[in-house]
């Protein structure tokens, strides 16, 4: 039995995993990254439009700060977010952008003087300040009061992961590529690392570590139509849940992005709308102002996606042989803008659609995009249930996105969470009490168990086809657990997914070729994906309200009185077909921003009984500290003690000089 030892085992080589590993390594602990693919191929790379951080450099971002970013994020989350975590996040995001700038990210920069932009369909001239010349620029994104999204053209994730992956190489952090974690080694109370399969040779080995971090990104591939890369199958989520101890939070919260190109589902960035692009229907009519007069195309993603589906249902979709879609019109932005700031968009339209977006409209339809749910952690990034297990990025439910994430907040979260959790994981490793003393027999037991599961696929006499089962699951999720949900659809989905899960236990392989064996990979992954799919559908069927991206046509109101709480799902027994659900209440009495109307979408919600009282307290505190936003914030929700010392402190801006 091959055992590899390290201090910190990072599962996932995207931005969160890389940044976390760098943090731990720089604190003197060995970090080792496992990745399904070379780190620079991770799905982080696909982030196009940008990263939110309240730098306030551009004139349209003037007045932006942590408080405005905080409010936008909490409203965006439909009050599902953990407000402590949002505070930690918004305070660290500017530091993250500045660190990345120092590491070489070619952020797009501000040019002083006049420039022409498109706002609300009109050409407008804005004048950038002289003192902003050469600082990191910001563009507009949905659900934000200020222009806050920092970007490198429309290849932001690409530029970020290039810089961060290269820093990891500079720090001599090994990335074991083409390796897949199949199970977490644990004794029910403490995590000791993972059993790992080599995706080239097919061999299993054990990685034993003091701390294990799951940074495996999203689980979008449980859906048929998704913007996610093919590796986003949620395996990190699944192996955490399969411990029977660690919980997944809010798995029913699934985000759909308004502009997946039709029919391929490949993303075109929200930056298209942020920069002035418009959504149009079959008649060429710009319909969003009819539904959302305040924010129009730039309401939050859940709202825009629902409005698009609603408009298609009214008969205003464009019919094609693949179904109906709407148009995204960026022609008004002009050739130069598209060729410089939206060139990935141009590439995608050109290669996949044969469309020139300088002259023609882009066919779009909402597609699954982001997994708000994930491995439940506390504010430091550690699982409260399984000691030694950490998580960061999309794979985690940290939980700064609640029930809907704002565009530009996910790439920001990857590096920010990596910075924070990298420190807490280093603290954890500093403590000698946390050194693992693990019996080899336990490691062997886990390894043999995983080996037996793999052998059962080739020698167990199963007759079910893994690809077919996967396809059925993806179709069910897309048709029954989508943007609009009903009790009847969800119950049907839960029932059918359970049956698929049972069938998946009888998968047999046609090919027993040694080495990589892609069919075997599909087989063991689809069993785990089904557990996630049924967790999403079941959580959605129980949650009888609408919040953020979770929309129940039969319960259209947000119901704070009964549902201002986080879903926790655990998988108790190997033969179970449903997760065990529990709920964790959010404490209104501690909220800096008590629940209210988001500023877009429905104004109709059921209040929590504590809300009016907390609202009064908040107003009194605000009045008392009206002249000092920092004192006001500290009185409302002290959070700085939760941040690692190096990340505390105010952020300098043009209008807030030190």
């Amino acid at each position: 039995m091959k055992i590899i030892h390290t201090d910190v085992l990072v599962i996932g080589g995207g931005l969160a995993g890389l940044r976390l590993a760098i943090g731990a390594k720089r604190r003197g602990h060995d970090a080792l990254i496992l990745s399904l693919v070379p780190a620079k191929r991770s799905h982080s790379k696909a982030a196009q439009g940008g990263m939110q951080a309240s730098l306030g450099n551009v004139v349209k971002g003037q007045g932006d700060n942590e408080d405005v970013h905080f409010e936008d994020t909490v409203r965006g989350s439909d009050w599902g977010a953990d407000q402590d975590v949002v505070r930690m996040f918004v305070n660290t995001a500017p530091k993250a952008v500045r660190e990345l700038a120092a590491w070489g990210v070619p952020w797009s920069r501000v040019r002083k003087g006049d420039r022409e932009v498109i706002i609300n369909g009109q050409k407008v001239t804005i004048t950038e300040r002289d003192e902003a010349q050469g600082l990191v620029a910001q563009r507009d994104f949905g659900g934000t009061k200020k222009w806050r999204t920092c970007y490198a053209a429309d290849g932001t994730g690409h530029a970020m992961i290039n810089a961060v992956a290269d820093q990891a190489i500079a720090d001599s952090i090994p990335v074991h590529e083409r390796k897949e974690a199949l199970a977490l080694i644990h004794d029910g109370g403490r995590c000791y690392g993972a059993i790992v399969r080599d995706l080239i040779t097919g061999e299993l080995s054990a990685y034993v570590a003091s701390a294990t971090a799951i940074c495996t990104g999203g689980a979008g591939r449980v859906y048929r139509t998704t913007t996610n890369a093919v590796i986003c199958e949620g395996m990190g989520h699944a192996i955490a849940m399969e411990t029977g101890v660690a919980a997944l939070g809010n798995m029913e919260a699934v985000q759909f992005h308004p502009t997946g190109i039709f029919p391929a589902g490949i993303l075109v960035t929200e930056g298209c709308r942020g920069d002035g692009g418009l959504l149009k229907d079959v008649d060429g009519h710009r319909f969003m102002p009819d539904y959302e007069p305040e924010k129009k195309e730039l309401a939050s993603r859940d709202v825009v996606s629902r409005r698009m589906e609603e408009h298609i249902k009214k008969g205003k979709g464009v019919k094609s042989r693949f179904g109906e879609h709407l148009w995204l019109d960026i022609t008004l932005l002009g050739e130069k803008h598209i060729h410089t700031n939206l060139r990935e968009v141009w590439d995608i339209c050109h290669y996949f659609l044969g469309v020139d977006p300088v002259k023609e409209m882009i066919p779009v339809k909402p597609a699954q995009h982001y997994t708000m749910g994930g491995v439940r952690t506390d504010a430091t990034g550690q699982s409260p249930a399984l000691k030694g297990l950490f998580s960061a990025g999309e794979a985690s439910c940290w939980d700064m996105h609640g029930f809907n994430r704002l565009g530009g907040n996910s790439v920001a979260e990857t590096v920010v969470a990596g910075m924070i959790v990298g420190e807490t994981i280093a603290n954890y490793c500093d403590d000698r009490a946390n050194e693992p003393s693990i019996p080899t027999a336990l490691v062997r037991e886990f390894l043999e168990r995983e080996q037996a599961k793999l052998t059962a696929f080739t020698k167990g006499g199963g007759t079910e086809d893994a690809s077919l089962i996967k396809g059925e699951m993806q179709d069910l999720m897309t048709t029954k657990v989508g943007i609009f949900r009903t009790g009847a659809d969800l119950e049907e989905a839960v029932d059918k997914l359970q049956k698929l899960l049972v069938r998946s236990r009888r998968i047999g392989l046609r090919s027993s070729s040694p080495g990589a064996n892609p069919e075997l990979v599909t087989a063991y992954r689809v069993q785990r994906m089904l557990k996630l799919a049924v967790t999403i559908a079941y959580g959605a069927s129980v949650r009888t309200e609408s919040r953020g991206a979770h929309f129940r046509s039969d319960y259209p109101r947000r119901n704070d009185a009964e549902w201002l709480k986080r879903t926790l799902a655990t998988w108790k027994g190997e033969s179970d077909t449903l997760p065990t659900l529990a709920y964790e209440a959010l404490d209104v009495k501690r909220m800096e921003l008590p629940p209210g109307w988001r500023g877009y979408g429905a104004k109709d919600y059921i209040d929590h009984p504590d809300t009016p009282e907390r609202q009064k307290e908040v107003e009194a505190i605000r009045a008392r500290h009206a002249d000092d936003r920092f004192a006001m914030q500290a009185a409302l929700l002290p959070y700085e003690h939760l941040l690692p010392p190096g990340l505390r402190g105010r952020n300098e801006r043009i209008d807030e000089r030190f």
Partner: protein
Amino acid sequence: MAETNNHRKLRFHILRYNPAQPGDEPRIQTYELEEAPGMTLFIALTELREKLDPSLQFDFVCRAGICGSCGMMINGRPSLACRTVTKDLEADISLAPLPVFELIGDLSVNTGKWMRGMSETLETWVHMPETQRDLKRIEEAMDPALAEEIYELDRCIECGCCVSSCGTARMREDFVGAVGLNKIARFRLDPRDKRTDADFYELVGDDNGVFGCMSLLACHDVCPKNLPLQTQIAFLRRKMVTTGIS
């Protein structure tokens, strides 16, 4: 959107070889598949594996032309399979793995291992002075046009197409390729990287670097991101010559 009703029978001639299978010999295997509207090689190969041959190995990640996983020889030319649309090809399509890189199996090669080696050799990261920046302070300004220039060269997706098309890379195992030289050009342009031309000469001033390039231009022709590779190599070579003789 361009649509077609012409449901051709496509014939895929794929180089098969599984090094993990004892006694396996490289061979061409032919599969037939009905073309679908909007079909890319990603869609075709996925369908082929699901329906006809579950053992077929290939790599895709983003399937949107931005991650660089799916470089392969398509009708003899290195390209990205995910954004190659079948309607642009003849009905007979030949697929082979990228040469130069270590073969994993069938169409899958280990570009990641090669790229990591290249990055370690060329130290492809910003070399900053020791002093830590104060992250609370406003970031250093950069000329917006320069930031755009750096971004242009930073667009490389390390797909390996340039290396696979390179005559020198076939002959010299340690040649850093257009991808490596482009990286050096990128960091040379970046004022945050404090290395000098003399430092860069140490890294690429030999036959495994700029002086190994035979200017065959194939890298430039096949780059899926249209990076100005030959221009960068020529410029760099000129600079390195001056540095070398001074």
